[in-house]
Symmetry: C2
Subunit: 201 residues, 2 copies
């Protein structure tokens, strides 16, 4: 006694999704076939459409349906600042702050030995080519402040140093509105270490 | 600054999957487009294939690619026992015990007011028609021993009573190898209440 073959194939295919094990793949397949066939149809079409339409921006490497993404094609952005982030979502988050008007480069990942992602899996040549275009003066290494993000930032600084670029990293410290009592010791230590002068009375 | 439209469509389409919120849909879309395009293609094809090939068995209502599923078409199964389960996975689990050789009926769900699933969303007419075919003598109400499963079993017994069928429910009690000390009070109480006579010395 087994599932019909096309059901087993669907359950197995759903496991390509990150974080989906055999039990949730089965639950998803049952749900789609029993309660949401239009949703399953929509998902199949969205997958096909995205696969045939989405590539990478030639300049910043983010997902784009056009050779240049809208941001890279925007003449109002500063050309001398390049902010390197791990994922497109990071770029969106930074854009949301409305406090940066330079350009980006999206790594589409981070160095992660545990996941088998090494330097060859990141677009380092494309980044070097982009950062050394002559217009860029400062590269902001805005990978996450996780162990993997820090390792990646270090590798990027090794890659880009010695070419007259200013390499920076965002400050670590307390969040706006943050209370000392509720801040973890590592962040507090870093905030102390990176303390800045104030102009006082 | 936004995602490309076809990426947003894919993120939105992935949310038809149960348990997938905006964050994990985004993570899934990034993963498929960046690291597993063959997997995305495979998923799209598996969805289309399942949608066009999988229907319900005419007799037992489980997923099937043929009008009668393999189990219902098997002449070696007893025709006088009908075991009603919530989902196809329950049928597979019971089959795995190799301790039942009757037939099944799969509800494809359970009564669940919180999820908006009422009696009209379950194939109760199909079940009544199946159970009253003249060959069935006993109907085993094998819905889960959860609140929803118990409610469903009660509704099914109301539906099927008064037609001369024997209606049964699986026993509750300690698991094989179970120790009293490590059994929850509700199960213990039920095991006491459903105690059976033993032939002893
Ligand atoms: Zn771009
Ligand atoms: Zn069947």
């Amino acid at each position: 006694m087994k599932n019909p073959p096309s059901l087993d194939q669907l359950i197995s295919a759903l496991r390509v999704l990150p974080g989906v094990g055999p039990k949730s793949a089965q639950r998803m397949a049952y749900h789609l076939l029993q309660r949401d066939k239009p949703g399953a149809e929509k998902l199949a079409r969205a997958l096909e459409h995205a696969l045939s339409h989405i590539g990478h921006c030639q300049r910043c490497n983010t997902f784009s349906e056009t050779p240049l993404c809208a941001l890279c094609a925007d003449p109002a952005r500063r050309q001398d600042q390049l902010c390197v982030v791990e994922m497109p979502a990071d770029m969106l988050t930074l854009e949301h702050t409305q406090s940066y008007d330079g350009l980006y480069f999206v790594l589409m990942g981070r160095l992660s030995p545990l996941d088998g992602i090494g330097p060859r899996d990141l677009p380092l040549e494309k980044l070097a080519h982009r950062a050394l275009d002559g217009a860029v003066r400062e590269v902001i290494l805005a990978t996450n402040f996780t162990a993997e993000g820090e390792t990646t930032a270090h590798a990027l600084s090794e890659l880009l140093k010695g070419h007259g670029l200013t390499l920076t990293r965002m400050a670590r410290g307390l969040p706006v509105g943050g209370e000392l009592e509720h801040t973890d010791p590592g962040t507090l230590a870093q905030a102390l270490f990176e303390r800045r002068g104030v102009t006082g009375g």
